[in-house]
């Protein structure tokens, strides 16, 4: 994982761009299935409702912190929401272990990069953008916390 976040995002968006809309859904489903299960030490917090992304109707839980200057994201998404899970899978795969400044340097509308608009429709994309914004804000907060 020596590539920068920007390069990894390029790779993922190229991967999506090469697909037909239907195949894009299959690809997203693969990312959903590859999202690691929530480690046991986080489960109690999730069950207590902590770290839930309240902007999403779907239960989405995100733990974002820094290990040194590297971003660590742990996520849990309900299995009945594979679209959200797939998108979170993309973000976790792309951002995990990357320097915080690279994650913060990502353009905010990265959802559009994946060409998911025609496959998913506008309304669904908005929910996904929300998740990307939440990750961004939590990384910002972690960086601010470190410098205090």
């Amino acid at each position: 994982m020596t590539n920068s976040v920007a390069e990894r995002l390029e790779q993922v968006s190229a991967e999506f761009a090469e697909c037909e809309p239907r195949e894009r859904l299959e690809l997203l489903l693969e990312y959903a299935e590859n999202l690691p299960p929530l480690p046991p030490e986080y489960q109690a917090e999730r069950d207590a409702g902590l770290n839930r992304v309240h902007e999403c109707q779907t239960p989405v839980f995100l733990w974002v912190d820094l290990v040194g200057d590297r971003v660590r994201i742990v996520a849990d998404v309900a299995p009945e929401a594979p679209t959200v899970k797939g998108f979170v899978g993309v973000l976790v795969e792309t951002f995990n272990g990357a320097p915080a400044e690279e994650v913060l340097g990502v353009e905010p509308n990265l959802v559009q990069k994946f060409g998911l608009l025609e496959a998913l429709g506008m309304m669904r994309l908005r929910g996904l953008s929300a998740i990307a914004s939440v990750i961004r804000r939590r990384v910002q907060k972690a960086v601010a916390g470190n410098s205090n």
Binding site: L25, L29, E55, T83, V84, R124, S129
Partner: protein, 312 residues
């Protein structure tokens, strides 16, 4: 009421399992999450997506009659096919699709009670294969049936006359505390709150934990006793974009047998963005259907209300 008014509109997962191969039946999955169908669907089911299939991609409206006919024909649905809808989120999108089919006059529309959830709880098999292709059918769509669809002018008139409205959104959306994100204007409206006089019955209160509809007696208590709705008065249901309210529309029309129920699909994203419309915030103490337009809550016109949208 001991029984549903039209129990024939609901079929069980068992019934669907037994009719998977029935050529007079077409099973249609309609979901919020578009990947669920790929992840596994009822064997033989086709997919109809509310955004990509049922809505016009340019104008905020449904597909027109000709495109509806083309959609049905392409899915092997003819005018006399029995269409059974099911989906995720307690059949939220299934009832939405059913409503659009009713709009274009499709007669035999059923709901698989409990939707995906019940099928999963039953431990029935999911098919992970591609969407089945059925031989093309002939379909002639009717003109839209506007007795089930309300537009803003008539909702405005309905509201001014003090007739009953049901706001089926969550309590937070109803009272106007916005669920609005810092960098991100949700599928939002510029103003928060509800149509003055509307009662708040969140749509999901009509379902059990296993995704099936509550009993006739429980629904009667919820909508008639607690909320004061009456079968004698026309009712308008709305939410944010008209999806959740199609679920309540289904409950009122088919399970409780209300003769006149309309879904206002413009809903809050239209009303809360229009200049000068009356808006109420907070909890409305007046139950719907009481026939008075005098509201005791903080009703204001949009023009003079404070900026609720910046609440977060």
């Amino acid at each position: 009421m001991a029984k549903y008014a039209h129990p024939e509109v609901l079929v069980s997962t068992d019934w669907v399992d037994q009719h998977k191969q029935d050529s007079s039946v077409r099973i249609v999955e309609s979901d919020e999450d578009l990947l669920l169908y790929q992840q596994g669907h009822v064997p033989g089911a086709v997919k109809i997506d509310w955004q990509n299939d049922l809505q016009d991609q340019l104008v905020r409206d449904y597909i027109d009659k000709d495109r509806f006919a083309e959609l049905c024909a392409s899915k092997g649905i003819s005018n006399d096919t029995t269409v059974v809808f099911y989906g995720d989120k307690n059949n939220w999108w299934a009832t939405y699709a059913l409503w659009v089919f009713k709009l274009y006059g499709h007669e035999k529309c059923l709901i698989m009670n409990g939707g995906r959830k019940r099928w999963e709880l039953d431990g029935r098999a999911w098919d992970r294969g591609a969407e089945p292709q059925y031989p093309r059918a002939n379909y002639v769509a009717k003109e839209p049936d506007l007795s089930i669809r309300a537009f803003r002018d008539e909702v405005f008139k309905h509201q001014k006359q003090g007739k009953p409205l049901v706001d089926v959104r969550s309590p937070g959306e109803y009272t106007g505390e916005l669920l609005h994100m810092p960098d991100y204007p949700q599928e939002g409206a510029l103003r928060g709150g509800h149509i003055p006089g509307a009662a708040n019955v969140p749509w999901s209160r009509a379902v059990n934990d296993d995704g099936t509809f509550k009993s006739a007696k429980e629904l009667e208590a919820l909508y008639v006793k607690d909320c004061g709705l009456s079968r004698r008065t026309p009712v308008v249901a709305y939410c944010r974009i008209g999806e959740r309210s199609s679920h309540t529309w289904f409950v009122l029309k088919y399970l409780l047998g209300f003769p006149k129920v309309k879904n206002y699909d413009g809903s809050w994203t239209e009303w809360g963005n229009l200049v000068g419309m009356p808006i109420a915030k907070g909890v409305d103490p007046r139950p719907a259907g009481q026939g008075t337009s005098k509201s005791t809550d903080q009703a204001k016109t949009a023009a003079d209300s404070t900026s609720a949208a910046n609440a977060s």
